[in-house]
Structure formats: structure tokens, C-alpha cells
């Protein structure tokens, strides 16, 4: 049973990673072929860094991810506060389920619906090209919102109201109690909400596909356009760089977590 489970897990994970690994390996291929490896080279990486469109897409992606995550975190955190204090259960339920629609709906429907809104508004206002940076920002903020609320709202719920009362008993004003006691408690949720929004925005392709214009491309859109026609091998290099970045981030988070664990364990040992 033990060996069976180990073999099974190995096989599935190997299959899961095989295509990605092949892609990474062939990004260092000297020749331009996928069937044979002719020698190690950084040729495609060099080409990638001379590609100004790719670099501009990267910049756009980062700008969009930071700004949309920040906006979603701001609106979402206030929303979570309001929802936590709201007494009207019916209204609360409605707001919650409407907020979650982008999470439940297929991305393509969300993308299409926003595109139709923008196009219709453009038609009414008589603007010819509304799609671009600002529509992207609105769309990304919208689909990040439910995730921000999802990570902040439980923090407000878990907060013990008697702590707020204790703070006021010790001389805090209500506002002081909120900022000194409640906000620090909620902060981890706010931060994880921001990170969530950031990664979702970086990763999104489907919704962006419908609300962007050729003059504001993000990295996923660039990859899509590149892979739509004849493949440029610098794409392999780009994908490899992205994978390595994600891997590094994950390891960093986990390594940092490991350090935390160890110091915690040490603390317990000295008890």
C-alpha cells in the first residue's frame, strides 16, 4: 500500500511536470527544433531581451497587477468592514453573492460582459477606442474583489469584540481602538488579499483578451499573440523565465515559512 501510493504520486507528478520541463530544456536549445537537442545556448534569451514588445508587455503587466491589486484591496477591505458591521442579513447576503459572481462565472462570460458594457458606454459617449489601460484596470479590480473580501472578511469575523471594548476600557477612543487593535488583527488578511489580487492579475488572460486593445498588451496577451501563429523560440525563453520566477517566489515563501517554524519550535523547546 505504501509503495503503491508512492509510485502513483511519482507517476502523476512526473506527468504533470514533464511538458514544463521539456519546455525549459528546449529554451536552451541552440537550434530551432523541438525534436532534437543540438546544443546549449542562450540564443533565444538574447532574442527575447531585444524584443521591445515583450519588455513593454512585462512593464504593462506589472503596472496593472500592482494598481489593480491596490485598488481592489482598498475597496475590498472597506467592503469587508462594512459587511461585517451590516445588520441587514438580506442585504449582506445579496452583496456577497453578487460579489462572487465573477468567481463562479466562466472567465469568458465575465470578459464578454465587461466588453459589452465598455462598448456600449463608448457608443453612448461617442468615444471610438475605449478599450485599453483603464478598462483593463477596471476589469482586473473587479475579478480580484471577491478574493480580497474572501481573505479579509473572516479576519473581521474572528475578531473578538471584547478586545475592542477592552481597548476602550483602557482609554482608547472608538477610532483609536479600531486602528490600534482591530486593524493589526485584520492586516494579514489584507496583505494576503493584495498578493492574491496581484497574482490573479498577472495570470489573467481570458478576461484581458476581451477588454484590452493592441496598444496595451500584458504578458499573457503577448504570449497568446506569439503562439497564435508560427512559433518564435524566444517564447520558450520567456516561459522559462516566468516559471523560474514563480518557482523562486514559492521557494522563498516556503523557506521563510520554514525559518518561522524552526524559531517557533525552538521557542517551544525552551518552554
Amino acid at each position: 500500500m505504501k509503495t503503491l501510493s508512492r509510485v502513483y504520486m511519482w507517476v502523476i507528478f512526473a506527468l504533470l511536470y514533464a511538458p514544463i520541463l521539456v519546455l525549459v530544456i528546449f529554451s536552451f536549445n541552440e537550434g530551432g527544433s523541438l525534436s532534437s537537442y543540438t546544443g546549449f545556448s542562450f540564443r533565444w534569451y538574447g532574442e527575447l531581451f531585444r524584443d521591445s514588445v515583450a519588455l513593454q508587455s512585462l512593464k504593462n503587466s506589472l503596472f496593472l497587477a500592482v494598481s489593480s491589486a491596490a485598488l481592489a484591496t482598498l475597496i475590498g477591505t472597506f467592503a469587508a468592514l462594512g459587511l461585517d458591521r451590516m445588520r441587514n442579513q438580506y442585504l449582506k447576503g445579496t452583496v456577497n453573492s453578487v460579489t462572487n459572481i465573477p468567481m463562479m462565472n466562466p472567465d469568458i462570460v465575465t470578459g464578454v460582459s465587461m466588453m459589452l458594457l465598455f462598448v456600449a458606454v463608448a457608443g453612448i459617449l461617442g468615444i471610438s477606442d475605449i478599450l485599453g489601460r483603464w478598462t483593463m484596470l477596471i476589469a482586473h479590480t473587479t475579478f480580484s474583489l471577491p478574493y480580497v473580501i474572501l481573505s479579509v472578511l473572516p479576519k473581521f469575523r474572528q475578531f473578538d469584540p471584547s478586545l475592542r471594548e477592552a481597548a476602550m476600557d483602557l482609554g482608547c477612543t472608538p477610532a483609536g481602538a479600531f486602528f490600534k487593535v482591530e486593524l493589526p488583527h485584520v492586516l494579514p488578511g489584507v496583505i494576503s488579499g493584495f498578493i492574491m489580487g496581484f497574482t490573479l492579475s498577472l495570470d489573467d488572460f481570458v478576461i484581458s483578451h476581451f477588454v484590452s486593445s493592441p496598444d496595451f498588451q500584458t504578458l499573457p496577451l503577448y504570449i497568446y499573440n506569439q503562439t497564435a501563429h508560427n512559433v518564435k523560440y524566444s517564447m520558450y525563453a520567456l516561459c522559462t523565465l516566468i516559471i523560474v520566477t514563480i518557482l523562486a517566489l514559492l521557494l522563498l515563501v516556503n523557506f521563510a515559512g520554514g525559518i518561522g517554524d524552526r524559531s517557533k519550535r525552538r521557542k517551544e523547546a525552551t518552554k
Partner: protein
């Protein structure tokens, strides 16, 4: 002072509500509006009526996603179980391994799978070296389904794994104590107690599968039109926005109904558990 603050606190959700109405509710209303109007803006049922000519596309999409979902469940369920019974340190590593592909863009993963299966790809060149004829894989329905399974498997495993983790080991011990073999324990105790995880896994695989267009474009080689492809095509030109909206509306309703049905099923189970 206190009253003022609590009013402010409750008003904090107002910007969010405004945003939600403007950018979630209004867009969906526009989908409905476009679905029931023609290019001139007049009310019409013709877009909906036109959908009958797309029925085979709906059928193929539903079949493909059901098969992909089924295989994800078949492969993912044992994986989730084995993961949940591993040592805690191993579990942490396995979770990272499982989540890493979820963080890598779907485009990259699909694309890398395509390069592997392509006519000039690694699999076929290996086959050639072994003396076999190359197999044309890209462009077949099998490749599209394989792509869905490959892309969405982690989304099946993760929720099931989470519900397995919550499963108290004492239930497994109690089952063994009452005479269950490991297989009987699986069927009589583990499976019924992980239904919520299965439901959310199935939803998380089925919904993106049925609405995908990139997978079918790349791995289907343009031979398969799924709902996603059809919608995407309609929104390239303003003249077909209305038909596209109609298709989107119908797909959305279909998905909402099936999700609601599954959730009711899970609620019944959930009631047992709570």
C-alpha cells in the same frame, strides 16, 4: 462620537456596492440586452433562435468537459487520498508541487503540452527513433481532452485533498475497528465524507473546461469548435456581438443551473456533516 463611527463603519461597503453594480451587474444586464436585440437596437428573438444551429457545438463541448472532468476525478481522487495520508512534512512539499502548475499560466502549460505532442514534437521523434510511425495527436479530440485533464487536474485534487485532510483519522480507525477492509473503509466512510470536496473539484474542472478556447485552438488544431471558441469568434466583429451575447447567456444559465443542482446535492450531504 460612537454613533458616528459605527455609521461610518457600516457605510464602508458603499463604494464596493457601487462598484459591483457598475461593473458586475450592469455588464450582465448588457449581455442580456445584446442577446435580445439586433444590430439596430430593436428587440428580437432571432439571436436565441439562431442558437439551434449551434446545438452540436454545445453537445461536443459538454461531452468533452464531462469526459475530462471524469478522468480528473478518477486520477485526482486517489492522488488526494495518498497525499492526505503522507507525513506532514511530505504533505507540505506535495502541496507546493501541486500548486506550482496552478501558478504557471494556462497558456504556457497548454503550449508546452502542444509542443510535446506536436507532429515534430518530442513524443513523435522518440517514437520515430524506436521505429514507429509518427502519430498525429494534435488536432484530435483526444488531445483536447488530454489538455483539459492536464491543465485542470490540480483544481480537482486541491479541494478533495482539503476535505480529506479534515477527515479525522479516528473515522478510519473506527471503520477498521468495525471490520472494514481498507477498500470498504474507502467506499463506506471516506467517499461519503469527502463529497463536498468532490463537488467543488468537479465544478472547478467542469466550468473552465466547458468555456475554454485556448486549449481547443492549440491542441484541437482548429478542428474542434467548442462553446468558448464560438463565443470568442463572435466578439471579433461588432456585427456578431448579439449572437455571441446570446450564446454566452445560454452557457452561463446552463452552468449556473448545474452548479446549483450540484450544490444542493452537496448541501444535503453538508447537513449530514454539520
Amino acid at each position: 462620537m460612537k454613533k458616528k463611527l459605527s455609521f461610518l463603519e457600516r457605510a464602508a461597503a458603499v463604494p464596493h456596492m457601487v462598484w459591483v453594480v457598475m461593473f458586475i451587474v450592469a455588464p450582465l444586464l448588457f449581455v442580456a440586452y445584446f442577446a435580445f436585440t439586433d444590430v439596430g437596437g430593436g428587440f428580437t428573438f432571432s439571436n436565441i433562435q439562431l442558437l439551434s444551429s449551434y446545438s452540436h457545438i454545445f453537445l461536443v463541448s459538454i461531452c468533452f468537459s464531462l469526459v475530462a472532468t471524469f478522468f480528473c476525478l478518477l486520477i485526482g481522487y486517489p492522488l488526494a487520498f495518498f497525499m492526505s495520508r503522507a507525513k506532514p512534512s511530505t504533505q507540505k512539499l506535495l502541496t507546493v508541487l501541486l500548486m506550482l502548475p496552478m501558478w504557471i499560466s494556462l497558456l504556457i502549460r497548454t503550449y508546452s503540452l502542444m509542443t510535446l505532442l506536436d507532429n515534430g514534437g518530442l513524443v513523435n521523434s522518440l517514437l520515430g527513433k524506436l521505429g514507429f510511425d509518427p502519430i498525429a495527436m494534435v488536432g484530435t479530440g483526444g488531445a483536447v481532452i488530454l489538455g483539459m485533464i492536464y491543465d485542470f487536474l490540480p483544481y480537482m485534487v486541491l479541494p478533495i485533498y482539503t476535505s480529506m485532510q479534515k477527515l479525522d483519522n479516528r473515522y478510519l480507525e473506527a471503520a477498521a475497528d468495525l471490520g472494514c477492509t481498507p477498500l470498504q473503509t474507502m467506499l463506506r466512510v471516506v467517499l461519503p465524507l469527502t463529497v463536498p470536496g468532490i463537488i467543488s473539484g468537479v465544478t472547478m474542472v467542469f466550468v473552465p473546461s466547458i468555456s475554454t478556447f485556448y486549449i481547443s485552438q492549440k491542441l484541437g488544431g482548429g478542428n474542434f469548435d467548442l462553446i468558448g471558441d464560438t463565443i470568442e469568434r463572435q466578439f471579433k466583429y461588432p456585427s456578431t456581438y448579439h449572437v455571441g451575447a446570446a450564446i454566452s447567456l445560454v452557457m452561463m444559465i446552463l452552468i449556473l443551473i448545474s452548479v446549483a443542482v450540484m450544490n444542493r446535492f452537496s448541501d444535503e450531504k453538508g447537513e449530514m456533516i454539520v
